[in-house]
């Protein structure tokens, strides 16, 4: 391709049509296809490959707020699942000369390989502001030259079913149980010293609602033998494996719509220590009698302030969720649950712990990937809880969460849920 073609000649057009009728014209990137999904934006500057391969984005398209995407290409180590599940990808500029010692494939080639349509060259900031002000909405992204009629695409977007009430988990969960034993990325020379993997192994069964590999890797790093099971695996099958604990994974979509999981979770929660992340946290909230609601545009990024309600310490968190557990619903359900973490931007619930059972959960992503490692302590806490439970102690999630030994005071903060 000569310079003129690359820079100025008419490129393959692409179109992004929102259900509210807004249309963005850009150029095509990735696969030639038409994708339909809810548009959300992610404010992470780094980590587009992890985002692309995060199963939690099933049913969604992601607009990256940072403008230079594709800089470091893609590689085999940084994928969070076997393949991307999202339905479209939106960037300002995907520069085609990646530079990184680990780069193996350009972003464009990766998107083509996994059949993800993408658009570049649009005013992504205008799009983000629209979503922020009007809320998340359905959209259609077309890189198919034959399907570039804006009106037709808007109509398609209007007709598309949103995330609410749809069980997205069944689209992403594994079909058969499997063992997982891979540790985290080995890293680079000169990095800070890492903790040793504990000798004493513990057995955990991880429900795959769309699990990110880095969660499993961190469980391994914390001395767990991990068995991953499909989302609707009966509690009895899990118990038959005689695990020391159960893990509820992250995943896509509306927690209230996931079928065939709540009863299993309730059963297991009476028997074993449980730790849930993201969708797993929401499912746990529902299983404990709470309700969930959809946020206006969710939290998607690696810079969110999550505050520990006992110590008041703030972790900078990787977040990716469009739904949240209602703080009030848990109180009225009468289940002895404390809210352990809040998002300081909007006061939404970010963490729960049970006061009589070895159960806790977190809305954000302590496994990061992408994002800061500030909240990695959740995995060591999980290990501690499981170990103490295994040794016969009547340990509770709240005891584990309350490192300060305080009474959690969050009555003021969480009454106003600005995210609604």
């Amino acid at each position: 391709m000569n310079a003129r073609q690359a820079l100025f000649a008419a490129k393959k057009p692409a179109l992004l049509a929102l259900a509210d009728g807004t249309v963005y014209r850009g150029t095509a990137l990735g696969a030639e296809a038409v994708g339909t999904g809810e548009v959300c934006f992610n404010t992470s500057i780094t980590g587009y490959q992890e985002i692309l391969s995060d199963p939690s984005y099933a049913g969604q398209m992601v607009a990256m707020t940072y403008t230079q995407i594709g800089n470091v290409g893609t590689n085999a180590q940084d994928s969070e699942s076997a393949r991307p599940f999202l339905s479209g990808f939106i960037v300002k500029e995907a520069f085609q000369v990646p530079s990184n010692f680990r780069s193996e494939e350009t972003l464009h080639d990766y998107l083509v390989r996994w059949e993800v349509p993408a658009i570049e060259g649009i005013d992504t900031r205008a799009l983000v502001r629209r979503i922020r002000d009007e809320g998340a909405q359905m959209a259609v992204l077309s890189t198919d030259p034959a399907q570039q009629d804006p009106e037709a695409l808007v109509e398609l977007a209007c007709k598309a079913q949103g995330l609410e009430g749809v069980d997205m988990v069944k689209r992403v969960t594994c079909e058969e149980p499997y063992e997982f034993s891979q540790g985290t990325w080995s890293g680079i020379a000169g990095q800070p010293t890492r903790a040793q993997v504990p000798e004493e192994k513990l057995k955990v069964v991880a429900y795959d609602f769309g699990v990110k590999r880095n969660i499993l890797r961190l469980l391994v790093e914390n001395g767990f033998e991990v068995t991953v099971v499909p989302a609707t695996t009966p509690a009895s099958d899990v118990l038959a494996r005689k695990p020391d604990a159960v893990f509820l994974s992250n995943g896509p979509g509306d927690p209230a719509a996931v079928e065939g999981v709540l009863e299993n979770v309730r059963t297991l929660a009476n028997e074993l220590p449980v730790f849930g992340i993201c969708l797993g946290h929401q499912i746990l909230g529902l299983a404990l009698g709470g309700t969930t609601h959809k946020l206006k545009f969710g939290h998607h990024g690696g810079n969110q302030p999550g505050q520990d309600q006992f110590t008041k310490k703030v972790s900078i968190c990787a977040e990716n969720h469009g739904f949240a557990v209602d703080a009030e619903s848990l109180r009225t359900a009468g289940e002895p649950v404390v809210i352990t973490h809040l998002n300081l931007n909007d006061g939404t619930v970010e963490g729960l712990a049970h006061e009589t059972k070895p159960i806790f959960s977190v809305q954000y992503h302590p496994e990061a990937s992408p994002g800061p490692h500030d909240a990695g302590f959740f995995f060591t806490r999980f290990r501690e809880m499981v170990l103490r439970h295994k040794q016969g102690e009547a340990v509770t999630g709240a005891q584990i969460a309350n490192t300060a030994g305080n009474v959690a005071d969050c009555s003021a903060d969480c009454s106003e849920n600005k995210g609604v």
């Binding site: 900031r125 931007n345 992408p370």
Partner: protein
């Protein structure tokens, strides 16, 4: 944790004069800190010797001390003010070093004063190379292999471990002063010695070279509850080996995967905790091996730094302001994010644009200086730009530089292989404007790999530059129709109208017209810390070519202020000070204020200085577009120095309303022929002169007005290329080689008034009334650039009749020009004759100094005058002659430029200034010398080597000292005259005329003061330059003019009678008020 109630008063240290490596970013951070502390209800006491700062405005702190930043003066201030705590982390290395010195001297213990923000132990851990390496080892991090040396022998030992090339880094210096890279065995010892000399601890590090590795920086903040956040990541375009201050840098980091970035973040957080920075901002620098990602820690600054200012401007997160709040006990989650209003400061900014910073150099002013960039910072300023993509951001940054570049212009190179070899060298060697060579290489078909192998700039940056060059090729070939088709895309890539005009061989106005006809105009996006996740309430904007515009201009009465762009010698912080004052005054008067500037170091580019901030290049194109969207009622061009002034005629032609003195009046003062007509009309005299458009014309003029003459190109600032020429041979050389005269670039030829006294006047005029703000008599005689000369307000030895005449002349000039606002006039007084040297109908470099000397905010008053107020209405109608003396002294950067002669000349080379205030001239002068680092000895040995014309004058002065505790050593001629005048002196050999010679005596530490003046002939200048250089490197006070030497003697005598006193500026101003009542 809420704020501390156990403290009532805070002493804040500023950073002193602007020097290379420590510029006005510390005025920005210091001002933010003072304001916050005051708002929190603390009594704020400030020490800073730099008058040209917003920080030292009497309103910024409760008690402001413009006094020497020494243990002696600081102790006196502590004794008077009894502060509870000292905040030393917002005033750069100067503040940190002063705090450490006070601890060492036991002063803090004596008065029970605590340090806040950083403790001694952590400062030492971060600054002491050995302790730092140990600390990094404790947390498993790597640093380059190294060894600490306190002498050359130890350095040799260390070298055995690190090998050549080796990086030499002195401890406890700022901007890497004294640092270097040794490539050969031969140069090693000398470079080590130099580093040891520059280090206050006589210590340096010999370090393994990781030249060519990628360099990154993270800006972090930590609070007392151990919450740590990363504010910004920065990637250097220039790889390791170039000081980060001299590197082109980009935010955020571009070439790290999330995995690698998070490892770096973890390392930085661990470092923060290990070093133990209690609260506040820090900066950590890393090197990354491009081959395998290996990480090494380069250094850490446990304080607000130059990079913090950049990071603040790049993200909208006000690091210094937050650091000050954290220092008094708040935690991050308790502090609100100003921009979003709803969310807390305990988060990490996310940005949706690319920021590029390019340093600005002035090597052309330092003949003999090597312009290769190393680990010692040499740039004097920087411009920052914001674009949605790197290509746009980079091209905007290029035109922000005001170095005459509008983009990647082609390089002129010799034909054939010779040219290619030169090009390869230019790509390989890090020098200013290297990227133009990189671009040229792509223009000539080099591959990314070939260019990378030469310069080690990351291929991602190279790929983007190549794309710009490919686009240029395509634009050049474009047909008329294609031009229209490509224009939007070209603008999105950051091409300026001027660069497109060059590519299309049309003029800039044609490109602009075409663009406007096609309705291709920029939109403005907001810098909001959060990538639009939350609504932004602060209108901090940048331009880009996108769909949606967020400018949302108001329909208020509004005024736009054009800033000064990147700092350079001759145009620096003084002009930013004026712009900020204009903004404050006009906001108070009810106007909406709109600031336009591209200098990230400044107070003017703080998002809360003005109602609206456009972080944009100050080119005609960019300013016109902002004027188009904002439609201001007035634009102020006279405060930002030459940068906005250059635009004023074009702006006026485009229908933009210019406030203040008319562009025509400005032209009348600048155009030599119109100026001469005016002087004739007013019956004022100027030195005989002429305007030469060719060499022969110049020779003829010189013959008419007689040598020596002063020659300079017209339209210059800071004495660029100004020289005194003694004869025809010198003139011919100058005209042909130095300035390349042509009809378009004429040269001014003035008679040079030898031994005349120069006088500077700042005045303010509302068109009807003129008030003389200050008459400043220079210490150094005419021939030394006014910016490099010390001066005294009021004059210290001008007769009253002459002072009156100067006042009258200034009034006539202001009224004749119809000045509306500020005016500066430079005079020379020779005998009873008064000569006009030049008139500048704009704010001058001395405005902040005069404002502080007389206690009136001149720039504020002038901006109100420009808005239509009369001086009567402003109650400023009388000249104020204060009852004390204020001496301004220039601070020169010679120490950064080995091999450059330190002799003062008509070429301005100072980077900053200090101010000494005291009841008499001698003491005020002495203070100014201490502040400038020229600490006057009270006894000891003076080396005198002066030209014949100065013998008598210097002898008279020196005699006073020989009677009071000083010995003299002198070179032959000087010694003979002294003997004849009855002054005993010991003879010392000139260099090359025996041993021990002058330089040897200086280097042996045998001399406490050097007085060295030299005649005009090049031989005696070069013969004696080693004396001046030796004095400089040994840190011995030296004077190179008889006038300054005499003033210094007066200062020494004053100090001998009584040590320096300190007084708050507020008290000084109160006394002016009393005096005039």
């Amino acid at each position: 944790m809420p704020k501390r109630n156990d403290i009532q008063s805070v002493l804040v240290f500023g950073s002193g004069p602007i020097i290379i490596g420590q510029a006005c970013e510390f005025d920005y951070s210091g001002t933010q800190a003072c304001r916050v502390l005051k708002e929190e209800g603390y009594r704020v006491i400030l020490l800073n010797s730099n008058p040209a700062t917003i920080m030292t405005d009497p309103e910024t702190a409760d008690a402001t001390y413009i006094e020497p930043m020494t243990v002696e003066a600081a102790s006196k201030i502590i004794d008077i003010e009894r502060p509870d705590v000292i905040l030393p982390t917002v005033g750069g290395q100067t503040a940190l070093n002063l705090a450490l010195a006070l601890v060492d001297a036991g002063v803090l213990e004596k008065y029970g004063v605590q340090l806040i923000g950083a403790q001694v132990e952590s400062i030492n851990k971060a600054e002491d190379r050995e302790l730092f390496a140990q600390a990094m080892g404790n947390i498993g991090l790597s640093v380059p292999r190294s060894g600490v040396a306190r002498n050359v022998a130890e350095a040799r030992e260390a070298l055995a471990n690190t090998h050549l090339p080796a990086i030499i880094r002195p401890s406890f210096t700022m901007g890497g002063t004294g640092g270097s890279i040794a490539y050969t065995d031969e140069e090693f010892d000398g470079l080590v010695q130099w580093a040891l000399d520059q280090s206050p601890a006589t210590e340096c590090l010999i370090e393994q070279s990781i030249l060519g590795w990628k360099e990154f920086e993270l800006e972090l903040m930590r609070d007392a509850a151990d919450n740590v956040v990363v504010i910004c990541s920065i990637e250097n375009v220039d790889p390791m080996g170039v000081h980060t201050g001299d590197s082109i840098t980009v935010a955020p980091a571009q070439t790290l995967t999330d995995k690698e970035y998070q490892v770096m973040r973890d390392a930085a957080v661990d470092i923060m905790r290990e070093i133990g920075v209690d609260t506040g901002g820090s900066n950590v620098q890393f090197g990354i091996n491009p081959e395998d990602g290996a990480l090494v820690v380069i250094e850490m600054n446990p304080r607000v730094s130059r990079s913090s200012a950049l990071a603040s401007k790049a993200t909208g997160f006000p690091i210094a302001k937050i650091a000050a709040k954290l220092a008094v006990g708040y935690t991050l989650d308790e502090i609100q994010n100003d921009i979003t209003k709803e969310t807390p400061a305990s988060f990490e900014p996310s940005i949706d644009y690319v920021v590029t910073k390019i340093p600005r150099f002035t090597f052309e002013k330092f003949a003999g200086a090597d312009d290769i960039l190393t680990t010692q910072m040499k740039s004097v300023g920087e411009a920052m730009s914001i674009g949605r993509t790197f290509k746009e951001s980079l091209q905007k940054a290029l035109r922000s530089m005001e170095t005459g570049t509008a983009g990647f212009e082609p390089l002129e190179l010799p034909e054939g292989e010779e040219g290619l070899a030169l090009l390869r060298k230019k790509v390989r060697d890090p020098r200013p404007a290297r990227l133009h060579a990189v671009a040229e290489a792509f223009r000539r078909g080099f591959s990314i790999k070939e260019v990378f192998d030469l310069c080690k700039i990351d291929p991602w940056f190279l790929g983007n530059i190549r794309e710009i060059i490919e686009a240029e090729a395509c634009l050049v070939e474009a047909s008329e129709n294609e031009r229209k088709e490509f224009l939007l895309r070209a603008k999105q890539m950051g091409f300026s109208d001027a660069r497109l005009a060059a590519l299309w061989n049309v003029n800039e106005a044609e490109v602009r017209d075409l663009r406007h006809k096609l309705d291709i105009r920029p939109v403005y996006k907001r810098v909001d810390t959060c990538a639009a996740e939350f609504e932004a309430f602060t209108p901090y904007m940048y331009s880009t070519y996108e769909q949606e515009c967020e400018a949302a201009p108001t329909d208020r009465k509004k005024v736009m202020i054009l800033g000064g762009g990147p700092n350079r010698i001759g145009q620096g912080i003084e002009f930013d000070y004026c712009c900020v004052h204009a903004s404050f005054a006009l906001a108070e008067a009810g106007y909406e204020t709109i600031m336009v500037n591209c200098n990230p170091e400044t107070v003017s580019t703080d998002y809360d200085t003005s109602d609206r901030l456009y972080f944009e290049p100050l080119t005609l194109e960019d300013v016109l577009e902002i004027a188009h969207i904002e439609k201001p009622d007035g634009v102020i061009v006279q405060f930002g120095g030459q940068t906005p002034l250059k635009l004023c005629l074009d702006l006026e032609r485009a229908g933009v309303p210019i406030w203040g003195t008319t562009p025509d009046a400005i032209d009348r003062a600048e155009d030599r022929e119109r100026f001469d007509d005016m002087l004739a009309k007013l019956e004022l005299t100027k030195p005989e002169s002429g305007l030469a458009r060719s060499v022969e014309e110049a020779v003829a003029i010189a013959a008419r007005i007689e040598y020596p003459i002063l020659v300079r190109p017209s339209y210059v600032l800071g004495g660029r290329a100004m020289e005194i020429v003694q004869n025809e041979e010198g003139l011919r050389y100058y005209m042909q080689v130095a300035v390349n005269v042509s009809p378009e670039h004429p040269v001014l030829v003035d008679r040079f008034l030898s031994d005349a006294t120069e006088v500077d006047v700042d005045a303010i005029c509302d068109g009807k009334r003129v008030v003389i703000a200050g008459i400043m008599q220079h210490i150094e005689e005419a021939g030394v650039h006014s910016g490099d000369s010390a001066c005294s307000l009021p004059p210290y030895d001008l007769p009253p009749s002459m002072i009156k005449e100067i006042g009258e002349a200034s009034r006539k000039l202001a009224l004749e020009l119809g000045v509306c606002g500020l005016m500066n006039v430079q005079y020379a007084v020779k005998g009873d004759e008064l000569y006009i040297i030049e008139v500048n109908p704009r704010a001058s470099r001395t405005v902040p100094f005069v404002s502080k000397a007389i206690g009136r905010p001149l720039a504020k008053l002038a901006s109100l005058v420009m808005s239509g107020k009369t001086l009567d209405e402003l109650d400023y109608t009388q000249e104020i002659v204060p009852p004390h003396f204020s001496v301004k002294e220039a601070v020169l950067p010679f120490v950064k430029f080995p091999g450059v002669d330190t002799l003062l000349s008509p070429e301005m080379r100072s980077t900053g200034e200090v101010m000494g205030i005291d009841s008499d001239f001698g003491r005020a002068y002495a203070k100014s010398q201490i502040q400038a680092g020229n600490t006057l000895p009270l006894s000891g040995r003076i080396l005198v080597s002066v030209k014949e014309e100065d013998h008598d004058r210097v002898a008279e002065a020196v005699k006073e000292l020989t009677d009071n505790g000083f010995d003299i050593i002198a070179t032959t001629g000087t010694a003979a005259t002294f003997k004849a005048l009855g002054i005993e002196s010991e003879l010392v050999a000139k260099v090359g005329q025996g041993h021990p010679n002058t330089v040897e005596r200086i280097n042996e530490g045998d001399v406490d003061l050097v007085i060295n003046t030299v005649g005009a002939d090049p031989r005696s200048v070069s013969d004696s330059s080693s004396i001046r250089r030796a004095a400089l490197t040994q840190g011995i006070p030296y004077f190179t003019t008889a006038a300054a030497a005499c003033a210094a003697v007066g200062g020494i005598r004053a100090l001998q009678s009584e040590s320096i006193g300190v007084r708050a500026l507020q008290e000084t101003h109160r006394r002016i008020g009393e005096d005039s009542n």
